[in-house]
Structures are given as C-alpha cells and as structure tokens.
C-alpha cells in the first residue's frame, strides 16, 4: 500500500488495536503494517497510551465516603419503615370503604336481613361473615348497592375495627412493627399506592390463590399499575373468591394502584 494510504490506515488503528474492525479492514491494515514502519510506530504509540491509561491509579476516595453513603441508605430504609408503620396504624381508609362496599354487595342478602331488624344508623354489627364491617359503612351500600367508594374521610371512631373478614381468614398482622415492616408473607396480593406503600393486603385460601392471581393478571393495567376505577371491581372479584382484604393506611385514593401478586 502506498504512503498516501497511511492517513486512512491511521484512522483505523485505534479500532484495529481493539480488534473492532471488520475482517476485510483488519486484513488491509495488517498487510499495510507489514511494509510501513511509520504506521507500525503509530500503532505502538497509541497502544502504549492506551495501556498507560489503563494503568492509571484510581483517585483516592474522600474520607468516610462509603460510611456516609451507608448512613444515608440506612436513613432511607428507616424512613420507609416508619412510613409503613405509620400507615398501618391508621385503620380508616377510603380503600377500606371500597373493600367493605365490595364485600357488602357480595353479601347483600345478609346485610338486608340485618337491616330489617335494626335501625341502620345504630346497628350493632351482628356476628356474621362480615361481622366486623361497621354499620356506617354497610348501610349506605345496602341502600344504594353502589360500588362507588365513599369520599376518603378520616375515621371518627378510631377503635372501630375496619378489617373486613371472611371465612378462612388468615390474619396478616398485629399491631407490632415487626409484622408489617415487610409485606405479609401469607398475602396473595398487596395493594400499594404509587410510592409502594401498602394500602391493603389480600389474603386468600391456598386453594384459591391460582384463581386470584388469574384475576389479577387478567385485569387491565398500564405501566403505572391498575386504575382507580378498576380497583373496586378487582377487590370485589377477589372477595367473591373468599379473600380477606385488610386495609393498612388512611391515605386518600390515588390515581394508580400497584398490586403485587
């Protein structure tokens, strides 16, 4: 190859040294180098620079660099836990209402029977499948049979249990922090808001789990999760299967929900 080709060869050398040229280009460069001392020296030069660069010492990290990172990571972790615990302790939620509504609809005949004998506003909740559903939640549903959740209102009766319980219930947690710092292991699904904070857990009998997961996977969702308008239908389908839906937070309804199955 003539000297006039050296310019082209020099442009190929940086990739030639990394074996990143095509077979044809590699062949051309190799043949040129056999007869061109100048390009051979250039190859040696840029290869040497590359090796020297690879041998450059790392820059010394500042003192306590990793320690500071770990401390910040721990802060993040404890904040997340604290928020989960705080949410868990709040028992009245819009989702609770939605879940209760859904369950009440499923159990309308029983609720209706109850209402025949008792004043709606002051109903002392009887012992039934839905014995722990407060009357204030069940009564409007019995009247409206609507799936539209009530507005997110703070509970006035903090002591009133809002947990919806069905047969085959498996309690998912108690009041202590250790039970809910992580998602309950026996939950078939966990309903979260967009920040991954648990809004409700769905526990389901073992033999029904496959069907429950099928329901979850068949319901429409986008990259942000399930839409608010679909959540109530999903919860209803799950409760029809015999699910226990236990709410965790008092957060307002968010636009999108994530269900971790």
């Amino acid at each position: 190859m003539a000297n006039s080709d050296c310019k082209d060869i020099l442009n190929l050398l940086p990739l030639y040294m990394d074996n990143m040229l095509s077979e044809e280009e590699t062949d051309i460069v190799s043949r040129h180098l056999e007869s061109c001392e100048s390009c051979k020296r250039e190859l040696l030069y840029i290869t040497s620079i590359s090796k020297s660069t690879a041998a450059l010492s790392d820059i010394e990290v500042p003192r306590d660099f990793s320690k500071n990172i770990i401390e910040k990571a721990k802060e993040i972790q404890s904040k997340k836990r604290a928020r989960r615990i705080a949410f868990f302790r709040c028992t009245s939620t819009a989702i609770a209402t939605a879940a209760v509504v859904a369950l009440c609809v499923v159990n309308i005949p029983k609720t209706a029977d109850i209402n025949k004998n008792q004043t709606p506003q002051n109903t002392a909740t009887p012992t039934t499948d839905i014995s722990e559903i407060p009357a204030s939640h069940s009564a409007p549903v019995a009247e409206n049979t609507s799936l539209t959740p009530a507005p997110s209102t703070k509970a006035t009766e903090e002591s009133t249990p809002k947990t919806t319980k069905l047969p085959d219930e498996t309690p998912t947690s108690g009041g202590g922090s250790s039970a809910f710092t992580e998602y309950p292991q026996n939950a078939a699904a966990v309903l979260c808001d967009e920040d991954s904070f648990v809004i409700a857990t769905v526990t389901i009998p073992e033999d029904m789990r496959a069907q429950a997961l099928e329901i979850l996977s068949s319901c429409p969702q986008d990259e942000k999760g399930y839409k608010a308008q679909d959540i109530h239908a999903i919860l209803q389908k799950l409760s029809e299967l015999g699910a226990t839906i236990e709410t965790k937070t008092d957060t307002a309804l968010t636009e999108n929900y994530i269900i971790i199955g």
Binding site: L10, N11, L12, P14, L15, D18, M20, R41, E42, L44, Y45, I46, S48, I49, S50, S52, T53, A54, A55, L56, S57, D58, I59, V61, P62, F65, S66, N68, I69, I70, K72, A73, K74, I76, Q77, E182
Partner: protein, 191 residues
C-alpha cells in the same frame, strides 16, 4: 460475593450487602466521576447520588444487563447533569471550552519541554496522561475512561452512554487520535 448475589441480598433488604457493593465499586466510580467532573466535591456528590439511586431503585433492576453497566449509566447521567448545569451557569467559559472536537487540541499541556529523570518517567507519563484526559471533550473523555480504565466492551459503552455501537467506535477512534496528538511532544514516554 458476585454482583448478582449482592443484588439479590440488597433486594431483600440486606444493608450489609449494599455496603459491600459500595466498597467494591467506590474507587472506580469515584475516579470516573472525578475524571469526568474535574472536581472532588462534585465527584463525591455524583458518586454518592448514584449509589443511593441504586439503593432506592434496586427492585427495578431487571438484570438483563450487568450491574456495572446499569450503575455506570446512572453515574454517567448524573455527571452529565452536573456538567450541563455548570455550562448553563458559566456561559462565558463554555464558549472557550466548547464540545467541538477540534477545541480539545487547543488545550495543550503545560510545560512539557523539560526531560524527566528516568525514575520519574512513569509518574511523569501518568501526570501527562491525566492532564491530557482532562483536556479531552466530555464525550471523548467518557469513552476513553470507560474503555481503557474501566475495561468495558464496546457494546456495554453503547448502553451506558445510550448511543449506537457505530458512534462508540467513531468516538473511541477519534478520542485515541486526539490523545495521541495532545501527547505528541512527549511521545518518547509512550514508546
């Protein structure tokens, strides 16, 4: 422990595993950030931010690429953000040190006329190289560091920088030629 095992543990909430991951990556990561940003405090902030983003987002890491590729993608993006903010803040400086590929040749190394002693040659070469690297454009600097210092393959560099393989090739080619040109006056140190 391998990255894969550490990631698995971190996903399950093991903070000690995260500490190990940090210790495995901190030197190279900080060095990358320092060489990109040319400022120790900014490099510290960028590297710390990258690690904390990794910690926060570890559950979104799907492991269809290596952890190091994912990590350096995050770190490089943070560095680019800092550089962009800087260039917006100091417009007059950016005019003289623009990203134009030819401008880097204007930034020659200072005082290279004196011959170094034999025993100092290696150190001298390292200093010259560090200076030469810092005078490269950001784009060229990034590919040289990722390829020659961190040892990434071309396709991994393409992922980290979010550019095509062809662009990686042309950038590496030009960056190496640029380095060669900058160090021309000290060629004997590299032969």
């Amino acid at each position: 422990l391998s990255d894969k095992n550490l990631i698995k543990k971190i996903k399950s909430g093991d903070i000690e595993a995260f500490a190990k991951l940090v210790s495995q990556y901190e030197k190279k990561a900080f060095s990358f950030a320092f060489r990109m940003l040319k400022d120790s405090r900014d490099a510290e902030d960028a590297t710390q931010e990258a690690f904390l983003r990794v910690y926060n987002k570890i559950n979104t890491f799907r492991e269809d690429s290596s952890f190091s590729t994912w990590f350096y993608t995050i770190l490089n993006n943070i560095c680019l953000d800092i550089l962009r903010k800087r260039s917006r803040a100091v417009e007059t400086v950016s005019i003289h040190q623009s990203d134009s590929e030819n401008d880097e040749y204007e930034l020659q190394i200072e005082d290279t006329t004196q011959s170094p002693h034999e025993k100092l040659q290696k150190k001298e070469a390292q200093n010259l190289l560090n200076s030469a690297l810092s005078s490269l454009s950001e784009e060229h600097r990034a590919v040289i560091i990722l390829r020659d210092i961190n040892g990434f393959e071309y396709d991994e560099i393409a992922k980290i920088l979010n550019i095509s393989l062809g662009t990686v090739k042309s950038r590496i080619s030009r960056a190496r030629q640029a380095l060669g040109k900058i160090l021309e006056n000290n060629r004997e140190l590299f032969l």
